[in-house]
Amino acid sequence: MRLKIRNLKKCYDQKGIIENLSLEVDDIQVLSLIGASGSGKSTLLRLIAGLEAFEAGSIEVNGHNVIESEAVEYRKKVGFVFQDHNLFSHLSIFENIMLVLEKVHHRKRSEVEPEVKKLLEQFGLMEHAGKLPHQISGGQSQRASIVRALSIRPELILLDEPTSSLDPILTYEVLSAVKLLAEDRIDFIIVTHEIGFAKSVADYIVFMEDGKIIEQGDRGILEAPQSPELKRFLGKVLTFDGGSNVNSL
């Protein structure tokens, strides 16, 4: 992916959430945004998705100039996995995927059905395809959300803390699914608290605090952080992360 962000500014109720943020990466497959809660990483992801308008600056993703009000076509090329899966609650898992493909991407049901079934199979969801979102576990819902994002054959997938509301076992389950994306050479940006996971899959890591990028670079920054902020953050996170099974992914 190619991502160019210049002097980005985003406010909520006149309070600056992201202040004068710039970032430029090229030829990166997996970008991980890390940082404490409230650091602005999820907001940045939503701005990259074209879901929200910003006050100043510019965002360019793979050559698309992202402006919220004009981003309808751009958004169709981007898959998004929300924190709380956001599956349509009145539709089965299968229909959640089919609805997007049929109505937005105008693809014929008979053509896409085999593709969707293959994806559901790959992500271990085939036996749950006919169930409603509330009838399956949080981990399965999140995997279904990944399949939905993947089914549109996106240029890029954005994942906003896909494991934040899951217990360790379901977290492992979902991160294993995300890892499949990496193995399939799909470009994605993931906002995550799972440092062990970021370390194992990300090509590039961006650490944020108070709406600013404090440190960025390859996985090495997690091994040898330069800024006191990242050192402090890792110190706190890794204290409790030692036994986490995501490190073994």
Partner: protein
């Protein structure tokens, strides 16, 4: 089994209470002969109640939708038009509206059919409540459903058609069935505008035969026959459609 027994006991106590009240009101023996004589008129009134309630509900569903859309409109005049209508309806007893509608509004527009004035009055009244049901159902749709639709590139129409509307329908079915019960009960007030619905026909027979308690037994039972299945339907729908986001 225990649940059924408790239910049967409670029902029995109610029936006994009902009979006790009816018996103490009866001067002589219970006598339904006058009502048997006029059963066709009474049955006609009962069917008129069903018809007027059905027609009123169908119209109210549209009145409610129009009021809701006006409320959501970008044009402030439409918004206030809807709000004023609802405020008047919420603040005025139906019986007062029924009398004014029949004697003055119906007259002004040259509508003489008691059935249609009654049905339209009920529709305008119940419609105000239904508008709020729509509003509640749309607001109950989680913000993430809108967001997801936006993210995946749904147009505004597609979002309403494929995401919002199906969820609103399941959300409004139980309260709509409840409103139908309300409509049937409220239709009794149309007796004040001399519509030949169930209560009015019973009142007519009462005044001819002077057998008042028997009339009330029939009228209560007649309404319960209509409303109890609806109340049970509401409960069943609430249970069945209660899915989580």
């Amino acid at each position: 089994m225990k649940k059924k027994l408790s239910f049967a006991t409670a029902i029995l106590i109610y029936i006994m209470f009902y009979i006790f009240i009816a018996m103490s009101a009866l001067e002589k023996n219970i006598d339904f002969s006058a009502y048997q004589r006029y059963y066709k008129v009474i049955l006609n009134g009962w069917f008129t109640t069903i018809a007027i309630s059905l027609v009123a509900l169908v119209m109210a569903i549209f009145v409610g939708l129009i009021l809701y859309l006006m409320r959501e409109s970008r044009f402030a005049v439409l918004y206030y038009f809807s709000e004023i209508h609802k405020t008047i309806i919420f603040g005025t007893p139906l019986v007062v509206i029924a009398i004014i509608a029949y004697y003055y509004i119906g007259n002004a527009f040259n509508v003489n059919s008691k059935f249609w004035v009654g049905a339209i009055t009920l529709a305008l009244y119940i419609g105000a409540y239904i508008a709020d049901i729509y509003k509640g159902a749309v607001e109950a749709i989680h913000v993430n459903q809108w967001q997801t639709a936006k993210m995946f590139g749904f147009t505004r129409y597609q979002t309403y058609r494929y995401v919002v509307f199906p969820q609103v329908i399941t959300g409004i079915l139980p309260p709509l069935a409840g409103q139908f019960t309300m409509t049937i009960k409220s239709s009794a007030l149309l007796a004040y505008m001399a519509t030949d619905e169930f209560l009015n026909t019973i009142k007519t027979v009462q005044s001819i035969s002077y057998r008042y308690p028997e009339g009330f037994i029939i009228v209560t039972t007649g309404y319960l026959i209509l409303t109890v299945p609806l109340i049970m339907l509401v409960r069943m729908l609430e249970k069945k459609l209660n899915y989580k986001v």
